[in-house]
């Protein structure tokens, strides 16, 4: 077993070199790096010592605070007179509330308010994602405005009481009667009227050539179907908010992934200006796409308004399952046709997923099929049916999590039919340019990742024969798959840089840190950009009064922050230029000819000409120098380049021949994600994603009872995720080649770990047992 840790050595590496991965030490390259190629025109003084920030495995800035219990989360803020909220959830999927008996609850000890649709303030419908540039809600379903019930689990009453226990108890005393209406809670029924859907502003339909005919004519072809279930978010911190209306301001301590957009969305619901909402989320205990705007925010604020009391609303785990959506179920078809050499002549990836009437979120599970392999003909299409269920939403690697499972299992099956090694088949179909857009890759070294992964894992090439073997009761096999996640950068990023008189800087940006280390990475990027020691950089984030409207989603926040810092740095250079005294040789140089490094402003043309930043700051009137700017246009990925992260995942699997139990003793994954800004954070992100994917593959799934649309496993006791014993040593590495088009050279690392392991495990299961598993989760009864 390889036990090489990618951060076990550190040396200087050449950002230009295309060929890394000569060995694990090269993969581990994390030395003091210059700025990425393309982002820098003239050599700056080499970063060294305290000034070396990018690539250094700084420990998480919030780590000690969290370990000490000092970090304050949304449900840990208190105000005088604060009361606690509890929710009552509907038990039918669709219908009308005919009566609500609340008297007993109202009379219960400690109760301050019972709110139902009968007394709730009148509110606008929330703006869901994609309905407007700032929509941050899971759905546009009205929040407790009428007697209509639209999903099983919808909040029908809010109880406020002096303690959480009193609120919880009083909530059980409320009796709700319904008149049930016919509900669509069956996938099959909803699939009958599914329509070709759209996602993020485009139709989920791509046709190139005639894929069906090419499939029929192909020398070799396969045609497979897959099922994946709905999942639920299970962040370690259940959703919570503490709310206070004070002096005309709605103050919210939230656990948001995007404080600004949350504040705007909530402001619109209450018909107030976004400036009247102050929403912060300094610490967020995990997001994964689920910490957006859900009904509890609005219910807490509405109840707080009605009761005229500060309110803390902390959802139970069941509450998260009932009212905060997650990944939708899918049925997918992947059909591949190829010639005998394995060149794809047809790639079909189609299928059906589910959404609700009041959202525009269609699980985009064909995205990797668009970008990963060249194929002469393609048909990619996703149809969405609507069901009466909780709004589905983003969940770590939307689309790619299940889409790479199906595509990469199909490639494995094709490789076997062709008697070609699965890596070789992928290499033969590696596209020169983006297969659907024709754009050039900004940077792509997937083949290197395959090779290095194979080397580190000890991959045995195969040509149509299983390599699996038996060890006592255990059948042992190996499998591999590619990983994929797109680069994105959303507009709206902004940052303010303020230099102080002690040689330090304050960075302010409304970004979110859900535990992945945003502040740590931001400080490193700023340190590198400004030439100010990492420890002298303070980062403020997670507050909508700070610059920018960022969202920590789609693995794009680091790029958005990087672009904002670059822009703010340019403005800062102009500010500094205006302070340069007439006696200095730097006087009169335009900002474009200046840079900052090692605590000084210097001339790009003649780096020896410098003025310490502290001297310039001392010359300013306020004693600080401040600059704020928005990140530049996002055309690098929307118009100019094909920008995608990829990876290669290898697994060993053991399947018990008596019981079908599956164990995964070994995983190796090599990623090509551009520059890795902090190896420690990156390793955690990759490993975390892989563990989550392991859960998705082997155990995770919402028990959605199609008889009444109720989720029947809303707890950690019954919704299985991996335990420590399920998780093996995970060997991760990366190519570490900066993407010249990405603001910091980094493309984002948060989600790609979720893509790849499912197929690699399923392929290894086949290698071990000869059984193909095409439905998730793959549990022991499928292999008995």
């Amino acid at each position: 077993m390889t036990n090489i840790k990618p951060n076990s050595s550190s040396h200087k590496s050449d950002p230009n070199r295309r060929q890394v991965l000569a060995g694990s030490a090269a993969v581990a390259a994390i030395g003091a790096f210059g700025l990425p190629v393309g982002a820098q025109t003239t050599a700056a003084p080499a970063a060294s010592g305290a000034f070396a920030s990018l690539g250094v495995p700084h420990i998480r800035r919030d780590g000690a605070e969290k370990a000490r219990g000092g970090a304050k989360f949304a449900a840990e803020y208190s105000y005088p007179g604060m009361v606690y909220g509890a929710l009552v959830y509907s038990t039918i999927a669709r219908g009308t509330i005919t009566s609500l008996e609340t008297a007993e609850a109202e009379a219960a000890p400690g109760v301050v308010l019972v709110m139902t649709h009968e007394n709730a303030p009148r509110l606008e419908r929330p703006e869901p994602f994609y309905s407007s540039p700032t929509g941050m809600a899971g759905s546009s379903t009205p929040v407790m405005q009428d007697a209509e019930v639209l999903w099983n689990g919808q909040p029908v009453a809010v109880v406020l009481a002096s303690t959480q226990e009193e609120a919880d108890h009083a909530a059980t005393l409320i009796n709700v009667a319904y008149e049930e209406a016919e509900a669509v809670t069956s996938f099959d029924v909803a699939a009958e009227s599914a329509q070709t859907s759209f996602y993020a502003g485009r139709d989920l339909l791509i046709e190139e050539g005639d894929a069906e005919t090419a499939l029929a004519d192909a020398e070799v072809s396969i045609d497979l179907s897959f099922n994946t279930p709905a999942h639920n978010h299970n962040q370690i911190e259940p959703h919570a908010v503490t709310v206070l209306w004070q002096d005309g301001i709605l103050r919210m301590h939230d656990c948001s992934q995007g404080v600004d957009l949350s504040a705007i969305t909530i402001a619109k619901v209450f018909g107030i200006s976004p400036a009247e909402v102050h929403l912060s989320a300094e610490y967020v205990g995990g997001g994964f796409g689920g910490k957006t705007v859900w009904q509890y925010h609005i219910l807490a604020a509405a109840a707080s308004q009605l009761a005229d009391r500060p309110v803390r609303m902390s959802l139970t785990r069941e509450g998260v399952f009932r009212i905060c959506g997650a990944r939708a179920p899918t049925r997918q078809r992947v059909a591949l046709g190829s010639d005998r050499e394995g060149r794809l002549t047809s790639l079909i990836h189609t299928g059906t997923t589910m959404k609700i009437e009041n959202n525009s979120m269609t699980e985009p599970f064909f995205e990797q099929s668009e970008h990963m392999y060249r194929a002469d003909n393609m048909h990619l299409e996703i149809r969405a049916g609507t069901m009466d269920m909780l709004a589905n939403t983003f969940m770590r690697a939307p689309g790619a999590a299940t889409g790479t499972f199906t595509l990469e299992v199909a490639l494995d099956e094709l490789a076997e039919r062709l008697a070609i090694d699965p890596i070789e088949l992928r290499v033969r179909n590696e596209p020169e340019v983006n297969p659907t857009t024709g754009r050039a890759h900004s940077q792509r070294a997937l083949v290197d990742a395959y090779r290095e992964g194979a080397r580190r894992f000890g991959w045995i090439p195969r040509s149509g024969q299983r390599q699996g073997y038996r060890e006592g009761e255990w059948q042992v096999g190996t499998g591999m798959a590619a990983a994929y996640y797109p680069y994105k950068r959303f507009p709206g990023g902004a940052a303010r840089i303020t230099l102080n008189g002690e040689g330090g800087a304050l960075i302010e940006t409304a970004a979110a840190d859900m535990g992945m280390g945003t502040t740590t990475a931001t400080a490193a990027v700023a340190s590198e950009r400004l030439g100010i020691p990492y420890d002298a950089i303070e980062v403020r984030h997670g507050d909508n009064t700070l610059p920018g409207a960022l969202i920590a989603a789609a693995s794009q926040q680091t790029a958005a922050i990087g672009a904002s810092l670059t822009a703010a740095h340019e403005v800062l250079l102009a500010e500094l230029a205006s302070l340069v005294p007439a006696t200095s040789p730097l006087h009169g140089l335009p900002a474009a000819e200046l840079g900052t490094a090692e605590g000084a402003l210097y001339s790009l043309a003649d780096p020896q000409q410098q003025i310490p930043l502290v001297d310039l700051v001392a010359l300013s009137e306020s004693g600080t120098v401040s600059a704020e700017a928005q990140g530049g246009p996002i055309s690098e990925w929307t118009q100019d380049w094909s920008m995608h992260s990829t990876g290669a995942v290898f697994t060993e699997v053991r399947v018990n021949s008596v019981t079908g139990e599956i164990r995964v003793p070994r995983i190796t994954a090599i990623y090509d994600c551009g520059k890795i800004l902090n190896s420690k954070l990156a390793e955690s992100q990759f490993r975390g994603g892989i563990i989550m994917a392991l859960g998705m593959t082997l155990m995770e799934g919402a028990s959605f009872d199609e008889r009444n649309g109720r989720v029947m496993n809303p707890s950690f006791g019954s919704y299985y995720m991996p335990t420590h014993l399920d998780v093996p040593h995970i060997d991760v590495g990366w190519t570490d080649i900066p993407d010249p088009q990405a603001p910091t050279g980094a493309r984002g690392i948060g989600e790609i770990g979720m893509s790849g392991p499912a197929a690699a495990i399923a392929n290894a299961i086949y290698d071990a047992t000869g059984k193909r598993a095409r439905d998730l989760p793959i549990r022991l009864d499928a292999l008995m």
Binding site: Y89, T91, P109, N152, E165, D168, H169, T172, E473, V658, T659, G660, E661, R663, L698, M699, S703, D705, R707, N708, R710, M712, N713, S715, G717, S718, Y720, P722, T723, H724, L725, D726, R779, L780, D781, M784
Partner: protein
């Protein structure tokens, strides 16, 4: 959770005296009871903590062991005599829950823990005959992967979730209880009752009766025993199927066999007919296969748990073959 009072009993007599009716409940470590209270399934208004009572594990004059009802699961599993003489019990406990829960959970509470049927847990949204007799059973026709295939009825298909009790059943443990009417000893294999059409009644305990200890009969010489649990992840999951098995082999023939199944029935399922079919036969695969078939002959499955019939048979065979192999 409804308002309640908490008090700690100082002796079993004190506990019995404090228990003054349906609204009172004995509290072990609370790892199950408190969950049930949070979910609104159990609604006691008076909790009588009995964890301080009956702490020891003592050897008896007949060579057996007496385990106090308040002993923690971990203490039982770690006990050197139990590990040596009753290995299936130690293994069964260690296969259950998590280290943290086992450190807290008591023997009495483990025996009396209630089913993990998710419809039973869903007070607000599901029908359950065990919670509300006569209302219906939503597990039938719903998600029933965790549910039983032996001893179940049309009104309830829930399983008893304990691992420990499966091993206690293998060892023919006896449960000692105290109540207003004095003390009784009930063999564990008679202690649990099948659901029939009263799934709300789960065992022979009368209201207010207290479990004080569990007796393990003296160990038999040359008896080999083990416990094997199959579940949906490597740890911290209830059994889909578990088997506590034992064999005594003399002169190439099985002279004593024990099979108790977990995860498949409303109680630890002692497969007595299958055991009888093994005794007198050679310890070979065919013998065990035949016995496994007998053990599962009466299985009635649901769409979600059809696999359990085959799985249980395979695990029975594997466990017995392991024991036979060990004996050679």
């Amino acid at each position: 959770m409804n308002p309640l009072t908490y008090e700690k009993a100082t002796s079993s007599a004190d506990a019995l005296e404090r228990h003054d009716g349906d609204a009172a409940k004995f509290l072990g470590a609370g790892t199950n009871l408190v969950d049930l209270m949070r979910e609104g399934i159990a609604t006691p208004t008076r909790l009588i903590d009995v964890t301080g009572l009956a702490q020891g594990i003592e050897e008896q004059s007949d060579g057996g062991l007496r385990i106090g009802a308040g002993v923690s699961n971990t203490a039982v599993a770690d006990d050197t005599t139990i590990r040596a003489e009753y290995p299936a019990l130690s293994r069964a406990i260690l296969a259950g829950a998590s280290a943290q829960i086992r450190n807290m959970a008591t023997v009495g509470g483990n025996i009396l823990q209630r089913t993990r049927c998710s419809y039973f847990y869903d007070v607000a949204g599901s029908r359950c005959n065990k919670r509300t007799p006569g209302e219906g059973c939503d597990a039938i026709g719903g998600f029933n992967r965790a549910h039983g295939i032996l001893g179940v009825s049309d009104s309830c298909i829930a399983t008893h979730p304990s691992d420990m009790s499966v091993a206690l059943s293998l060892y023919d443990a006896v449960i000692n209880v105290e109540g207003d009417q004095g003390t009784r000893s009930i063999p564990i294999n008679d202690f649990y009752v099948l659901p029939g059409d009263t799934p709300d009644i789960e065992n022979q305990l009368n209201p207010g009766e207290l479990i004080v200890s569990v007796d393990l009969p003296a160990p038999s010489a040359n008896r080999r025993a083990t416990y094997r649990k199959v579940r949906d992840r490597a740890s911290y999951a209830f059994a889909l199927v578990s088997v506590a098995g034992s064999l005594i082999i003399e002169d190439g023939l099985v002279v004593d066999a024990g099979i108790s199944l977990g995860g498949v029935a409303p109680k630890p399922w002692r497969a007595t007919e299958a055991e009888a079919a093994i005794v007198g036969s050679p310890p070979i695969e065919e013998t065990f296969r035949n016995a496994a078939q007998i053990a599962l002959a009466d299985a009635t499955t649901q769409p979600g748990n059809v696999f359990k019939t085959e799985l249980a048979q395979r695990v029975i065979v594997a466990v017995l073959q392991d024991l036979a192999g060990d004996a050679q």
